[in-house]
């Protein structure tokens, strides 16, 4: 193939062009270096374009919520909001606790005991996200008179996932138990979630 290098401008000796053919030639090196540099630049520009889609500072700032537990009687639950997602806070009755403890955890899809899902000495306070781990619907069972499903915990109406009194998945398509967020007791009646 005839290249620019093979052509000799009129009145010039062909000598300098055929001196020695390095591989890669100096010109190739400059070409690769320039294109690589531009490529790195392009990638660097893409980063903020991708990162802008992550949650913004004001969304992240809503990441803790305080809850007053004093008004929740045993057997009752409240539905509140944490990071714009529903949060279930449930005061379990002794019967519900013993039902949860009676389950052989080896038979569970996502094996966890009620102790592992609650704080030490506060076994009656079950705090979970109200987001079904299947496709994100809000399960029923926290409100008064709602369907608690066959295991007495929560029931997701979208695709029929049933959770038990420790909000563990027992039946239906959801892969894991209802998520327990990070939280801490500030006092006997106030928790901070997040």
């Amino acid at each position: 193939m005839a290249t620019v290098d093979d052509m000799v401008p009129p009145g010039e000796s062909p000598e300098p062009f055929h001196e020695e053919a390095h591989d890669p030639r100096r010109r190739d090196f400059i070409n690769i270096a320039a294109v690589s540099f531009a490529g790195v630049g392009a990638v660097a520009i893409v980063l903020p374009l991708i990162n802008q889609m992550n949650p913004s500072a004001d969304v992240l700032a809503q990441s803790t919520t305080e809850i007053d537990l004093s008004k929740i009687l045993p057997g009752q639950a409240i539905k509140t909001s944490f990071r714009k997602q529903p949060l279930f806070v449930r005061n379990l009755t002794p019967k519900e606790i013993s039902e949860a403890d009676a389950v052989d955890i080896a038979t569970l899809r996502d094996p966890q005991t009620l102790e592992e899902r609650t704080k030490a000495g506060k076994k009656n306070w079950l705090i979970t996200l109200g987001v079904c781990t299947h496709l994100g619907c809000v399960p029923l069972g926290a409100g008064e008179g709602e369907n608690k499903g066959p295991f007495g915990g929560y029931f997701c109406p979208c695709h029929g996932s049933a959770y038990d009194t420790a909000a563990r998945i027992r039946k239906g398509p959801a892969p894991t138990n209802l998520h327990v967020p990070d939280y801490a007791f500030n006092s006997d009646t106030v928790v901070t979630v997040g």
Binding site: M53, Q85, V138
Partner: protein, 439 residues
């Protein structure tokens, strides 16, 4: 491009001659949609649907641009701005109903177009690229339609967004991170609504671009026809204009009549009443369903209820995306050299069984997830994959096709050219064409 006997564009006026030498846009139009594009003479009304899909896209873009002048993509006011379009904006109700029902019409037309391609083997060599680009357009349409349905910020909008972005959380390890990145938050909110609006505005123009490639790829081998037999000579074709501009124009009239009946008499028939309730992140509607055009795929998603190596949720998501991605491999899964199902007695039966299967999947996808419908979805989803991966490859290797006509003209003169859809795709009669009846 196209056939050697295609008529050449000859500008007659000095102005058009001047333009042709500088920017030959009229020449491009003439060669693609005018007398310069020779088309098989025997196309039936199923060949209207490509043009109708283009018309539907144009309607969506025009009504959509106008709606965007009145809509506000902010979670606090989005629902109210849609209600103000319905009640206060002059002719706003008309534009919004046209846009919402226009989406349904677009999918009706595109599904017919896809099934036309399946029946007459339009996906086969040398038109594989036309088919592949078509599947890309279909995927883009689904993304656009989904994001558009989120914009009114009603209950179905919100929970649709929650469920669909939930698909991504099924991806192992990085799923939740990807979902939060897509939403710009932990649940659908302002950030998600705004980016969906931006992309919903962008994607139709991307679709328009891919349509140009789709038509470009089509015009290299030229259009398929109901016999599936290649064009042999000039006698087999007629110029696109005036023959098919007239035929498509008539079809467009029928399309607009049906569209208008839907728009003016049943504007909410295909919608869901729950979407007239403002989005509430703390309360899920009892029965979440997507728009009707997603029902078959939603049924496949819900068909997986038990863990098998992978979690059921991941299987459902993989199967749902797989059911569409599978279409990319269709040109190579069906190895029969005969294109039209009119000459493939077994594949033709399999085609109609597939149509029924998808219809049942659609019905199940719109129904509540009770045990009966889930089992029915499982059977039909299994059949869907079996059709493409087992049945069609086996039939295409084993079946004995009926004799093909020697040419399109011969088939037409013997009255077997397939110009009447009732005589081909919909007919049960399987009389074989008499090869010498023409003489």
């Amino acid at each position: 491009m196209s056939f050697p006997w295609a008529k050449q564009y000859e500008p007659k006026l000095p102005l058009t001659r001047w333009l042709d030498e500088r920017l030959p846009v009229p020449r491009l139009v003439y060669n693609s949609l005018g007398g310069g594009y020779p088309v098989p003479r025997n196309l039936n009304y199923f060949w209207n649907f490509g043009v109708l899909a283009g018309a539907a896209l144009a309607i969506q873009i025009i009504t959509g641009i106008v709606l965007a002048m009145h809509y506000a993509a902010n979670g606090t006011v989005a629902f109210d701005s849609v209600e103000s379009i319905m009640r206060d904006v002059n002719a706003g109700w008309f534009l919004r109903y046209a846009h919402a029902n226009g989406a349904s019409m677009f999918f009706i037309v595109v599904y017919t177009h896809i099934f036309r391609g399946l029946y007459y083997g339009s996906y086969k060599a040398p038109r594989e690229m036309v088919w592949l680009l078509g599947v890309v357009i279909f995927l883009l349409m689904m993304a656009t339609a989904f994001m558009g349905y989120v914009l009114p910020w009603g209950q179905m909008s919100f929970w649709g967004a929650q469920v669909i972005t939930g698909f991504f959380s099924a991806i192992p390890l990085v799923g939740d991170t990807i979902r939060i990145w897509l939403l710009g938050g932990f649940a659908p909110d302002n950030a998600a609504l705004n980016r969906f609006f931006s992309l919903h505005y962008l994607l139709p123009f991307v679709i328009a671009g891919v349509i140009i490639l789709h038509i470009w790829a089509l015009h290299i081998p030229g259009s398929n026809n109901p016999t599936g037999v290649d064009v042999k000579g000039e006698q087999d074709t007629v110029p696109f204009h005036p023959y098919y501009t007239a035929k498509d124009g008539f079809g467009l009239g029928i399309f607009l009549l049906i569209f208008a009946s839907l728009l003016f008499f049943f504007p909410n028939y295909l919608g869901h009443p729950d979407n007239y309730i403002p989005a509430n992140p703390l309360s899920t509607p009892a029965h979440i369903v997507p728009e009707w055009y997603f029902w078959p795929f939603y049924a496949i998603l819900r068909a997986f209820t038990a863990d098998f190596i992978l979690p059921a949720k991941l299987w459902g998501v993989l199967a749902m995306f797989g059911s569409i991605l599978l279409l990319f491999f269709l040109p190579w899964l069906d190895s029969s050299p005969v294109r039209s199902m009119n000459y493939r007695p077994k594949a033709r039966i399999a085609f109609w069984v597939l149509v029924a299967d998808i219809a049942i999947l659609g019905y199940c996808g719109g129904a509540p997830a009770t045990a009966t419908y889930v089992i029915l979805s499982q059977i039909c989803a299994a059949y869907y994959f079996a059709h493409f991966l087992i049945i069609l490859p086996i039939i295409s290797r084993s079946e004995r096709p009926r004799p093909l006509p020697n040419s399109i003209t011969e088939a037409v003169l013997a009255n077997h050219g397939g110009t009447s859809p009732a005589k081909t795709a919909l007919a049960t009669s399987t009389t074989s064409p008499a090869p010498h009846a023409a003489h």
